[in-house]
Amino acid sequence: MAGEKTENNQMEKAMDAPLEFVREGNQFLSKCKKPDLKEYMKIIRAVGIGFVAVGIIGYVIKLIHIPIRYVIGQVEL
């Protein structure tokens, strides 16, 4: 019950006073721990390599599609 009540209160706050929400959010953001450059570069590299690798395989599959599209395009009812 207690959890629900505070949640409702917060909901009302967010609805009634968007300013309050922005202030709280800003406060929260400044308290957050941000990744340092080294950590960030590592993540960017991992995500980037994954994205490009999967993307290239996917693109090859899309290239296979071109002749298939041509064949299906011929079907008429």
Partner: protein, 490 residues
């Protein structure tokens, strides 16, 4: 059994709905990776063009959903016309309703869980069927279709939908890693990014038969030595052509993706302490992006329902006739480039502009309304979702109690209260920031690619987290993991 429950609707369909079986034995990490990637690739392979459309009867109705394509992995005029949208929307909506106790489901019972799962699938397939017929009867596939054509189109679109449901289920049921729809979406987004940047296929762009490459980077290189443009003209056109992907959008999309990556690592750290072992203080991270990109997806699902409702009224009922009363109230569709149907005022308030300049000069109010819509729906959803997703303050404090962990400097009884101060704020702030980034991209005229990359990178990120977690636990057992480690330097 007291009263009627919505999940009982699924009961008669249980025996006929195809379902993926839970794996019999433990699947190794390598196999899971292979299953995950291949499921995504099979999905991409399924983007066949629709068979049975007449060539001479070119449709007059254009694509009203052009800015949803990048987010829900859908391709216009293919079997996957609606992409993963019905799967996302039925999953999100039903879980939200169950969480808010509108639908009564007892998740402790196995039969109830099964029924709920089948209901989700059934709802998705019903949506595929309804959407397919809305599009067929609106004239999107041609104005006078024969009965045979209608039947064939229906079969293709609904079967395509059912097949994508099963593909996501393969990943969800434990053959793959993470959440099925999300991963397939990520793979589709990355493929789009690569084909927009490095795509080599040549597309005819004008009546004289000049070709340009689909990929923006390839086009720049070709532009340096193309015959129909000067050197400078080629370079300028590579950055601002609007009929195919240009370099400006590519750079924007990549920088948005990089920023989302940065944001994913924002975390609020709470000091925790084990009551059993002394002197071992640790940090428990609470991510800023607590609900992930689901809040953005939810906003887009809401937006989709508004747009499809307007499409029914304007195209199906009023036939896009500007004299009709409905069109006078809601606006009508305007033909742009013969591909997309752009809504006019007031429906355009909830439509992202197609370019920055056009956005500021023609629909300045959209900037406000669209942003507000995205932020409000996103924040509302995040606030509800964090409470029902099994990672709420109460769930976490219960887990802590079971592992005899307390917050440093707090009494055990106050744990849920303390966490409850942090988690909803994190979820709501995260959702607001993500919504703002996605909106920022959309308002610059990325036509769905901006929100798409937000969803794609977050999905990729969750996959990365699962991989590194698995790696920490099983420490170098898997061959694939070793290769990844060598390649990426985890």
């Amino acid at each position: 059994m007291a009263g009627f429950r919505l999940i009982d609707l699924a009961k008669p369909f249980l025996p006929i709905l195809p379902e993926v079986e839970i794996p019999y034995e433990k699947i190794s990490f390598d196999d899971k990776m292979v299953y995950t990637i291949f499921t995504g690739l099979i999905y991409l392979f399924c983007q066949f063009p629709l068979a049975g459309l007449r060539k001479d009867d070119l449709p007059t109705v254009n694509d009203p959903l052009y800015f949803f394509r990048g987010i829900f992995a859908s391709e216009p005029r293919t079997i996957l016309e609606f992409g993963l949208l019905p799967i996302f929307s039925s999953g999100l909506i039903l879980q939200l309703l169950a969480g808010l106790k509108v639908i009564k489901v007892n998740f402790k019972l196995k039969t109830d869980r099964e029924l709920f799962q089948s209901l989700t699938k059934l709802f998705a397939i019903a949506q595929y069927f309804i959407l397919a017929n809305i599009f067929i009867f609106s004239g999107y596939y041609g104005s006078n279709l024969s009965i045979a054509q209608i039947v064939v189109l229906n079969i293709q679109l609904v079967m395509g939908g059912l097949f994508s449901c099963l593909l996501t289920e393969v990943i969800d049921k434990g053959f793959g890693l993470g959440a099925g729809a999300m991963i397939i979406n990520t793979i589709a987004v990355s493929t789009n990014l690569v084909s927009d940047t490095l795509g080599v296929s040549q597309i005819t762009i004008d009546s004289e038969g000049n070709n340009e490459a689909q990929g923006a980077l390839i086009n720049l290189i070709q532009g340096l030595r193309s015959k129909h443009r000067t050197l400078l003209g080629g370079i300028i056109s590579a950055f601002n052509r609007d009929y195919l992907p240009n370099l400006t959008t590519t750079v924007l999309v990549i920088s948005i993706g990089a920023f989302v990556c940065y944001l994913q690592n924002y975390r609020y750290e709470i000091a925790i302490r084990s009551t059993r072992a002394r002197g071992t203080n640790q940090m428990y991270p609470i991510q800023l992006v607590y609900t992930g990109c689901l809040s953005v997806i939810f906003s887009y699902v809401c937006l989709f329902y508004i747009h499809i409702g307007a499409f029914i009224l304007i195209q199906l009922i009023a036939k896009n006739n500007q004299e009709n009363i409905i069109c006078k109230i809601l606006g009508h569709y305007e033909n742009v480039n013969n591909i997309i149907a752009a809504p006019t005022f007031p429906l355009s308030l909830l439509t992202p502009p197609r370019s920055v300049v056009g956005g500021i000069t023609q629909q300045p109010l959209s900037l406000v309304f669209y942003t507000l819509f995205m932020v409000i729906t996103g924040v509302w959803f995040a606030n509800k979702w964090q409470a029902i997703s099994g990672r709420s303050a109460r769930d976490i404090s219960r887990d802590f109690k079971e592992q005899s962990i307390t917050l440093l400097g707090r009494r055990e009884q106050n744990m849920a209260k303390e966490l409850n101060k942090v988690i909803p704020t994190a979820a709501m702030t995260g959702a607001a920031v993500l919504a703002l980034i996605a909106t920022f991209g959309e308002l610059l005229g990325l036509k769905g690619k901006g929100a798409g990359i937000v969803v794609g990178v977050s999905g990729g990120f969750s996959l990365l987290e699962i991989i590194s977690l698995d790696f920490q636990q099983n420490g170098g057992e898997s061959n694939l993991g070793n290769i990844l480690q060598a390649g990426m330097g985890f």
